[in-house]
Symmetry: C2
């Protein structure tokens, strides 16, 4: 058996890296900062995609696909956007290689230089708004509610599997509307979809809020976000939804004829979540034994392990186990029967724990005699003996119970690690210990910047449900009307 | 109403372009050779993906994701492969833009030049086999059966929507096996999956065969393919499955310990289909009125159009129509009720015909009195009046019947346009008229090349079920033991 994982309490960062690696979720590729998402990790991502895609479609969106390449001139059109992304662009300059005239191998063919450089999309507002120009003529063409699943490249200097990689997978919604209000409603609706997904599927409680102007998406009028707390007390931004105003419709000269027969620029939103959610999932729930997966996102929800010494015993156990397997499968539960004789059952138990399989059933000869099965749940690591007659019902209930329990545990953790702080000394003290800090802020970028420089804490968001109360900025003492959320963040 | 489509008989090429455009399937983007796949086109692609993905999983494959970037040195490792793809590579040379010091806009930052150029993947054998090196140690790690859905870039000079684009979407399977035989079996199994998908879903009859050495994938030992015939008599390669031998495992130094404790190189396959299948779908079945979709791939299978003059009439029709809508929906049929009052029903009929919606139900006041509904099928453009009591059953049967009928029509077309040819004069004559030509070939690359130069016909494949018979090469007169398939091709 391989050696134990590092403990969260001793080295959280190393614990994370090792879980990603040993649970076969992802690994670094030969290309700097790019990851290989391994089959087990990808199966979780597919479940996320499928649930999100259903939610997008249920809210009236359709999928489409836009080009990977952004002409440099497109990026230049929206000034803030250009400034925000220019420093991390992968640039295609040539379209051909040729045999090396001076020796072995291939070299870039200097005769195949592009007239205009192409950027690998760091996000697709520019390409999409350039396309919308011909799609939007009249108010009848609106709203346009489109989503795209694709890969994205941002040349990050410090990368971390799932959390920050040069290439990542995501979805990006891009919508166009007749009125400002409709676009704001869409921005909020999609934030709601993300929050619901985070809570109901990832079992991850999130705070819904607005970014401070400093932290807005480059080109947005307003950025909404969902923020989650990881077990080491650091925050993770799990999704963003942007109200783009008319910035892109103006930059790309998109206009429509309104009902009064006048030309107007449409109002825009964009919103996205990425494979970063995989990082959130891992860091929020897992323990020192490995991954803990909420049942709704587990590629294998139930594993059945027969415990036997002879082929005859295995045959007897299988006779009882297979009907359970078949019934669960028929009921839509993702179940695996592991009778592989190349590994001992102890090794299997550890492996399924490491991989976060929610429920493990073990059946040995004594269970057979007693008409029972041992049921182990991954989140609490508890076991119980259940009668074969009851086991199907039991599993259905348990899967629901575990989904709720994992959420409840994460919520309790967040509540236990959220602190209202009123003085600068308290703030500096608490930020070292981690957690969400609720504190008053004077609303200026200067204060925000100073707090960041002194403590590495950023404003995660201004919560949508913040209570109005008179207070003084924790840093400057200037008056403030509500608390915002500070934390160190991924 | 917009003007009629060009006729297939007059300008097939223009007919194709116009269908792609007017049925809202795809359009050219601002980036040369790259397409935007529009929502309606993407919805068809999603159905293809979903069906194929199920078939891949049913044959034991899992999905994963590998990086977009291929280091230049990787491409160089397998010589034939490098030669095959070098001329059409998009090359990333820099990772940052900066403000233009001489004026407005952005320029490539010369200080951000990559040490080694990165190629946008034209296919992923090299990246994947470099990764497999650490995944494959023992015979226990095999077979490795992995698939990836992703985007691909090949810098094509002459592009055509769906058929040949600089960026396209595809899936690529990459498997590794202990024995040569197992890898060959896998290659053939996946060819079978593609053929089944083409026939059962796209309703497209295909010939399964082997490529001649000339037409093999760069780096393959053997390339299997499925070939289909389009309505203009040209062939279209609809999918390929490659037996790669040990070429990549040797180039990337991948070895495993076999059961006898000796080191061996694994045997490999790769196989792919792409958004090109969209082109095949369109060109195989559509007619001068627009798209014809086999029901299994239609985003909307049934549309219900109420025909009314007053809101009161609409209310009465809706009362009868909605139960049909609900029953179909509950039965898993994709159905739309179009009571949009901004368009006349004549416009709607033409629009649904253009978009290939398989079944159109029309309900007017007279139908209401008679307890009937008018059922129009897209493939034959025939109409019949059906009693409301029978319509659900009728639709279920009709959807199945249409799927079979569209296939049967395409098969008959292929049979009518497949010709056994024994003389060179006949060959030259027939190739001008189009169709598949079955002719003897002497097996040499020279002859193949000469035939191509003189007639633009290529060997589409050597059919797997070719009958052994003594014959003489249609060009050289040299002896041959079976006929191969020639055609002009997309």
């Amino acid at each position: 058996m391989s050696k134990a994982l590092p403990k969260r309490s001793e080295n959280y960062s190393e614990w994370y890296n090792e879980i990603v690696k040993r649970a076969d979720l992802a690994e670094n590729s030969a290309v700097r900062g790019c990851m290989v998402i391994k089959p087990y990790g990808y199966a979780i991502w597919e479940k996320m995609q499928s649930a999100l895609d259903d939610m997008f479609k249920a809210t009236g969106h359709v999928n489409a696909y836009f080009p990977l390449f952004v002409p440099k001139s497109f990026l230049e059109k929206e000034e803030e956007h250009a400034e925000g992304f220019a420093k991390e662009c992968a640039v295609v300059t040539h379209y051909r290689l040729k045999a090396n005239p001076d020796g072995k191998g291939l070299v870039v063919d200097p005769n195949a230089k592009l007239e205009e450089e192409l950027i690998i999309r760091p996000t697709s507002e520019t390409v999409i708004w350039n396309t919308y120009k011909s799609w939007i003529q009249s108010w009848r063409d609106l709203p346009l509610l489109i989503n795209q699943w694709c890969n994205i490249v941002r040349w990050e200097m410090r990368t971390r599997l799932f959390l920050r990689t040069t290439e990542f997978l995501w979805q990006e919604g891009h919508t166009a509307h007749v009125t400002e209000q409709e676009a704001v409603e869409e921005t909020e609706r999609m934030l709601g979809v993300y929050a619901t997904f985070a809570e109901d599927w990832i079992a991850l409680p999130v705070i819904r809020g607005l970014k401070s102007p400093n932290e807005r998406f480059a080109g947005a009028v307003e950025t909404y976000c969902i923020e989650a707390l990881m077990q080491d007390g650091k925050a993770l931004q799990a999704g963003t939804s942007h109200f783009l105003g008319q910035n892109f419709s103006k930059s790309f000269e998109v206009q429509f004829v309104n009902k009064e027969n006048k030309l107007e620029h449409p109002w825009a939103t964009s919103w996205g979540v990425s494979t970063r959610l995989m990082g959130a999932l891992i860091m929020a729930h897992s323990d020192d034994n490995g991954l803990v997966l909420p049942p709704k996102l587990a590629p294998v929800q139930v594993v059945i392990v027969p415990i036997y010494k002879t082929p005859e015993d295995l045959a007897k156990i299988s006779e009882k186990a297979m009907p359970i397997f078949e019934q669960l499968k028929a009921a839509g539960v993702s179940v695996k029967y592991d009778d592989d004789d190349k590994q001992r059952s102890g090794w299997k138990f550890a492996e399924y724990e490491l991989k976060g399989v929610p429920i493990r059933l073990a059946m040995g000869m004594r269970d057979l005699e007693n008409g029972t099965v041992e049921v182990a749940r991954r989140d609490t690591l508890t076991k119980e003996t259940v009668s074969l007659d009851d086991v199907i019902d039991h599993i259905h209930k348990l899967l629901e119970e575990m989904q709720a329990a994992i959420y409840a545990r994460a919520l309790k953790f967040r509540e236990d690690n959220t602190f209202s702080v009123d003085t600068w000394d308290q703030f500096k003290d608490q930020i070292e210990k981690g957690g969400f800090i609720l504190a008053h802020w004077d609303g200026t970028a200067e204060t925000e910047e100073k707090i960041k420089n002194e403590t590495k804490a950023t404003i995660r968001c201004i919560p949508l449900d913040a209570v109005e109360e008179d207070g003084k900025c924790v840093y400057s003492g200037a008056p403030s009307s509500k608390r915002v959320v500070f934390a160190r963040a991924y």
